[in-house]
Symmetry: C2
Subunit: 253 residues, 2 copies
């Protein structure tokens, strides 16, 4: 079994309202990459969010009392904290330099996944970029366009890079997914000794995203998508929302 | 940029005392896979632990009072809990069905990473398999052998599959690494807008392991290694120990 991950060059800088699927299709065609069934296109959330116009001008926000308090605790900009809170259902941890929340999507992330880097400045104003409103939906929309253009059944993952509780360094994961079993359930299968496997739910889309994000590189390199080829599966597609651990099972909040 | 991940077939079941590097070299040669500089060989901890004889017969253990108490809380076998405690420096969470510890290596993991599946049974006795004593050292040893045989400078990662606090499904990560920048530091570089990147420590070895573990598949398929080709880096090699978040920065214990 061999898997290839090809970084997709030639996607231009994305602006609000851009047709991100169309830009990716153009780049695929220019790169002579033709998606096949069971290929997986990984797209960074950054260009999805940009196309969806998820910018916020920090100056436009009026920080609440709670945001000002948390800004004191975390030593962050009160307007940024206001933006984080607007995207969150719960503050998980707050201390100097750190604000970890559960986002409205259910992701436990620093700063609600808000991106403060790589944003083209207009007249010095500070814009931030929120996560896509519904990354699984974004993935489905891109998948429909890819499949229509290439007559394929191509998986799509919307990726992000996140920190971890007990490990240094960011790794990619799947915020959204379509056409892939984001969570792959292998419970009940037997191992080599005929014993039933106990823990075999596999974070498939997260692991695919982790590798693809490495190939895409940091955004500085301007390669916001990658095509992954060679994985096989028979399990039904499940969205990235299936990867969220239910709150009742969460031991760390 | 294109990365390929080739699963390595033909590695036999490993027994204590086996020369795991030699078995991998044989399998690489039979597969006509010749490691090149900057290739990364990912090897599952399971065969490394087996070769290192990290088996424990549960019946040989005499559970301490603390182990018996924790077995009550977690509803686990007191002997298994004894084994977990023997490999741990701290119990992080214990509740029915769950025992999360910090291992002597510094990994925060369920059951100290002890493997209860895929262990060939002898006369019905229950054996478990501990993690390698020093996975970075194991990786270095394998690297030396691979490099000597193929005149290469090949990275080696010793991988495992672990659960996550807020996500369902296991993903691969790097327990040990040699010849790769396990943690890749890109702080200080500029983004497209000329802004300094704030968070750019990348969990390189973890992300490589995540994808390789998918290609290796579950152990049931008997493919315990994969060769990853196509990544470029100029950063110095760092062991997987560099990926451990210092306890003082840990917000979740």
């Amino acid at each position: 079994m061999q898997v290839t991950i090809a970084g997709l060059d030639g996607v231009p800088l994305v602006q609000p309202g851009d047709d991100v699927a169309g830009l990716i299709i153009d780049a695929l065609e220019r790169s002579r990459l033709v998606p096949q069934p069971k290929d997986i296109l990984v797209v960074t959330q950054k260009i999805v969010s940009k196309a969806e116009g998820r910018y916020v001008d920090l100056a436009s926000l009026d920080p609440s009392k709670k945001a000002v308090e948390l800004a004191g605790v975390t030593r962050k900009d009160p307007s940024l904290v206001e933006a984080v809170l607007s995207q969150s259902t719960e503050v998980i941890r707050a201390k100097p330099g750190v604000l970890i929340v559960e986002t409205r999507h259910g992701f436990v992330m620093a700063n609600a996944g808000i991106d403060q880097s790589n944003l083209e400045m207009r007249d010095g104003s500070a814009r931030i970029l929120l996560l896509p409103e519904d990354p699984d939906h974004s993935a489905r929309q891109i998948k429909q366009r890819i499949d229509a253009r290439f007559s394929s059944d191509t998986g799509v993952i919307v990726s992000d890079s996140v920190g971890r509780a007990w490990r240094l360094g960011t790794v990619g994961l799947a915020l959204g997914a379509a056409g892939v079993p984001a969570l792959l359930d292998r419970r009940g299968e037997a191992d080599l000794a005929g014993r039933r496997l106990e823990v075999t739910e596999v974070g498939f889309a997260d692991a695919v995203a982790a590798a693809a994000v490495l190939v895409m590189g940091e955004a500085a390199e301007g390669r916001p998508a990658a095509l992954v080829r060679g994985f096989e599966w028979s399990a039904p597609a499940r969205p990235a929302a299936a990867l969220l651990r239910p709150k009742a099972e969460d031991l760390f909040r």
